[in-house]
Amino acid sequence: MKLIGLIVVIATGLLLLWGVTDFPDWADPQSPASTHLSPHFLTESIEETAVPNVVTSVLGDYRGFDTMLETTVVFAAGIAVYTLLRRSRRKDLREKPEMIEEELPHQALIVKTICRLMAPFMQLYALYVIAHGHHSPGGGFQGGVILGASFILLAIGFDLKMVLKRMREKTTLVLGILGVLIFSGIGMVCVLLEKNFLDYSALSAILPATDIIMARSHGILGVEIGVALAVMANLVLIYVNLSSDGKYERGL
């Protein structure tokens, strides 16, 4: 098995090496990748969407459909993990208890204090990253991950029950669904306004005091908020289920 594996690996490697020989040089400004599509995005982004961060405008608008499906992938993973691991209450009673020992209170003091100190700052920073994605590196995914990480940090520092009191299972699920719904809902609103799916310029009809270009910018912001909610909720959902084996009793 190992020998076959090695042969397959070497063969694939040689194939890829052969492919590389005709690549343009690394970081070549004249390579097709740099001259075909990207100049259009770079020069037109501000005029067409009023977003200086081109990654955000491509992510949220030019290829917004990819992003929507990507959020759906996170949602699918969250639901998949939830479906696989979550125990129903009936069976739960019959399971033998977890083997993790009780944590002594004095030992966790440092960790708890620091976690309590850090979590609000993390959440504040996450909101900044989400809201400031138009102008600086950031956006829905990054902000959502930081937001989710702050809850996971609390779950590690304290225990899972404490987090589940603040983020109930139903809240997490609803937020995860709501995030994706915001995204696809904005897309459907555009369809209802007789434009194409995810054509945010249609939103200028219902948003006050926005022209077509600003409507795109606002549309991207709305989408980013949806992405952030979905990513945050689903990461928490995945973590909670994985760490407690679906019992929601005590995590790591």
């Binding site: 020992e101 030992q107 440092i110 960790v111 620091i114 850090m118 700052f121 590690i156 520092g157």
Partner: protein, 116 residues
């Protein structure tokens, strides 16, 4: 000019400690001493490098660059809090799980390094 010297000094010191940390993680005999290297060395070296960056950023003195430097200092404060706590917690978890500390004269605890 002075800024350059300070900045180069801080950064190369930071890189030196990073290097030392890496060697420590690879070469020290057991879990606790390796975590020692990771926790202390990592914090110190990233603090040094970040301070260097903050100083470097003040080359063009304006409100904008000052703001960026202040932000970098904020990152530094958080690393200063988080990194030692994290290594403390990991060591604690190792202690709870019953990892035996290395004592002088023993063989280097290779087995445990492989397990983890």
């Amino acid at each position: 000019m002075l800024i350059d010297i300070i900045c180069i000094g801080l950064m190369s010191l930071g890189l030196f400690f990073f290097f030392a940390t890496t060697i420590g993680i690879l070469r020290l005999p057991d879990f606790y001493s390796r975590m020692q290297a990771a926790g202390k060395g990592d914090t110190l070296s990233s603090m040094l490098v970040l301070t260097g960056l903050a100083v470097y950023n003040l080359h063009h003195w304006s409100f904008g660059t000052l703001l960026v430097s202040v932000k970098i200092m904020f990152i530094l404060v958080f690393i200063f809090m988080a990194s030692p706590t994290a290594s403390h917690h990991i060591i604690e978890a190792g202690y709870d799980a019953g990892v035996k500390p290395w004592t002088k004269g023993e063989e280097k605890n290779e087995q445990e390094g492989k397990e983890n």
